[in-house]
């Protein structure tokens, strides 16, 4: 397991949106889902994540409402909006292209090797 890595700015939103594309979730569910998918390599504290949700709701990417968890606890549920969905699609395409470009540059082997 490698070191926890920090996120490129704006990527967190994409990850959250991707997570929510499976269906509405409350805060901890999103966090757990992200943690399990990244196998613990993402280091974001919970408070920062909550603030990110607020920011995304402010931008109209997600919408929220209070609901009940299966364990009968009150929790704030988030769902992705139409705007959020199209944002996700556009950004995913961009990120994929970006990472492909990066990979292709970085994977070029140097022609001369020191002996």
């Amino acid at each position: 397991m490698s070191e926890p890595m920090s996120l490129v700015r704006g990527t967190l939103d994409i990850l959250v949106l991707k997570t929510l594309s499976w269906g509405p979730m409350h805060g901890l569910e999103i966090i757990t889902w992200l943690e399990s998918r990244s196998e613990g390599r993402l280091s974001i504290d919970d408070s920062a994540l909550l603030q990110a949700f607020h920011r995304m709701e402010e931008r109209g990417l997600v919408a929220s409402s209070w609901g009940q968890t299966p364990n009968k606890r009150r929790a704030r549920y988030y769902r992705v909006t139409a705007k959020g969905r199209s944002h996700l699609n556009a950004e995913t395409a961009k990120l994929a292209e970006y990472s492909a470009t990066l990979t292709s540059i970085l994977s070029v082997r140097s022609a001369v090797r020191p002996t």
Partner: protein, 912 residues
Amino acid sequence: MTPRWRTGIRRVLGIVVRRRDLIQRDADDELASLLEARVDQLIAGGMSPTDAQAEAVRRIGGSVEIARTDLRHSAERRERVMSIREWFDDLSMDVRYAFRGLRREPVFSGFVILTLALGIGANAAMFGIVDKLLLQGPAQVRDVNRVVRVFWTMRLPTGVEQTSAEFDTRIYANIQADTTAFSGLALYTTAVRLVRIGEDNSARLVSSAYATANLMSVLESNPETGRFFTMDEQENVSSVIVLGYELWQSDFGGDQKIVGRTIRLSDRPYTVVGVARRGFTGAEMERVDVWFPLHAALGAAARHWTRNHSSGPRTVARLKPGVTLDEVAAAATRAHRQSYDGDEKAYAEGRLSVGPIHYGPSGVESTEASISRWLVGVSVVVLLVACANIVNLLLARVVRRRREMAVRLAMGAGRGRLIRFLLAGSLLLALLGGVGALAVALITGRVVRRVLLPDVDWTSGPVDGHVFAFSLVVALLTGIVIGVLPAWRAGSGDMIVALKAGARDGGGNRSIVRRALMVAQASLAMLLLVGAGLFVRSLERVRGLDLGVQPDRVVMVSPRRLAIPAQATASDRATEEQRRRDFAREAVDRLAATPQVEHAAVTIGLPFGNSASVTLRVPGWDSLPRLNGNDGADPGISAVSAGYFATVGTRLVQGRVFTNADRAGSEPVAIVSATMAATLWPGRSPLDRCIRVGGDAHPCSRVVGVVQDARRNQIHEDPSMHYYVPIGQEVSIDGTQIVVRPRGDAAAALPALKAAIRQIDPTIRYVDATVLQDRVEPQARSWRLGAMMFTLFAVLAVVVAAVGTFGVVVYLVEQRKHEIGVRVALGAQGGHVVAIVMRGAVATTLAGVVLGAVLALAGGRFVQPLLFETSARDPIVIGSVSMLLVLVASIASGVPALRARYVDPMLTLRDD
């Protein structure tokens, strides 16, 4: 707790601003629920509760307090941004929906927009006029509020105080030298069309004015190119001119090298020293094409009074900062009285006053300015009528749409959203009306300018930045005014009832508002109609005046020739004078012989033209009686040829008119005016009496006839003594004029008359021909203007009110269909149904008429000074206008009422 009004505002604006503590609590809850869930999760994963707690806190960053503060901030920010965005989203939806609503009811929307366009447009047009006349003043003048006119007031020998803008230049020289309250005083004359530019067929008269060298510096205006005059040019007679911008553009193509060029005006050479800025008209508003230096010497000699007193040019001044009009007037009066060394009491006791630049020549606000003030009031009233009317229609529509509103409310639209939705609709209507208003203002503005202020040199079109901004503001205000009441209604509680009930009945208090609005609009329409009636009657009285001449039938023809050179000898001068007189006689004979001319005559002295008086002695009178208003002069004299009275249309009362046998050298005869005959020989025959024209040394002129009195200068003046002698027998007056009475339209005959004169003497450079009416017209202009504009606005208001009444009654009939159906089913006659429907509308109109009449009677004294021989409480005007309004209301309500007869009881009853 938040005060009620704040929630009220929020409700109206529809902004859902949640209270801050609620937002914070919400954020805290979210954090707490996350923490709890995390602890649960960790415990489920096998941690002890204490460790789980610690781990959960670590994962939120180590401090619950910091996390809470951060979350509160981000939550507050989110709410703020979202509420604003929501508001705009809702607004754009409202606007889109309002547009759809407009399209769904095109007749209704079209009528409302048209009404508003007329109402706002009338205001915008009047604002444009007042902006120029009262606020902005003449163009190219800086800080116009510090620029003032100086007036001279003195007591005439008759005891009447007279204030005038024109006074002796020595008064000017003295206050210029001795007062310090002005930062500058300049003299100028008003523009006249006397200077000829061009030759022969292309020759035309341009307007010119004289001004002292400092006019531009007093008004703080700079020339477009070159300079204004120098003191040297002012003090010594010099042939320099400054051109007006428009003439420079039209005749010299805006030539930048015009300065230093010599151009010919009226056959004399002048050197151009500068060009004024575009629209520069000095302190007046009439266009000036050519400025000449006004010769005004200011030295000690110029300040010394001799026996001769004269009137001179006008004075404009700039105040020093911080001084008031009264202080300046007192200082100027003091300076004049200290310096006066002449011997006339009236002058020694004369005083100076100072007034703002929009004051007219008699020291008070000009008639045009007062009338335009009135018209602003009138146009506001028109807009109010339009608003009352539209509010009524909108209210009716709200009721018509109650079900829709109720559905919206039931589906969870906040009351605030509903109100805002309706407001958005009315604002949209008002803004569209505002756009139409600009078109209305453009057209109305043009007409008003041409009719009201034909001489003003307008620098901008009727719709400029000011007018545009004004229209926008008025449109927005109107939108709010017409929207608030219907929106309030719609938001009121009984809406839910509408869902339950069949939404048919009108509801009591709503119809009170509706009635009040109808009464208001009828009373305002009544006010305007009374105003229009009063002005129309004034104008009728003015038109009906027997002036003693018929100015609309008379054309003055003046051939322009070279001035007799100043160095000519007296005999040369007399020869030239005689030659011109001979020409005039010949021209008159030849003109009178042409088929398109009825009569023609030669005259010295003409009503509304020039007049003169010479010493007159009448046997039996030591000194002639002085009539009212005649400030000490002898009776006026005219010298006329045989056809004169027939030409100008003055009736012979007694005796005979002159014939061709009455000429120089024949028996001296005279014709007197009716007033003169009645004054000098009361109760006795004036015929064959003797008057000595020129004094005792002159022979008797035998009175051979009496003619009716003719006005000399004003359409409204006291009759004065006047007499006529045959041309050739006059004493020491000159200035012959040709007067012609063409057949048919006088104005149409002008080109033919000019051509005829030039045919008789081809050496004449230019012929000026004017219908005498043009001289009279300006005196009747204020009544004509008042009659026209009041009538226009009143008709507008009545049409708006009538269409509004029609609309409301149509709606009422629609609403009462059920009731009418029941009545018809129970055997009501058609006439009875009509009566029920009309009764309400006619009754409210009557109430409005009575209220309007009371207002008109109460406000009468304010409008009285603007009327001509008409009482502001003229019963005929008030009576006929009342009847007209009731008639209009009957028609407007009668048409839908008649239709109500055909309500099919079966159809309406089946509705239930």
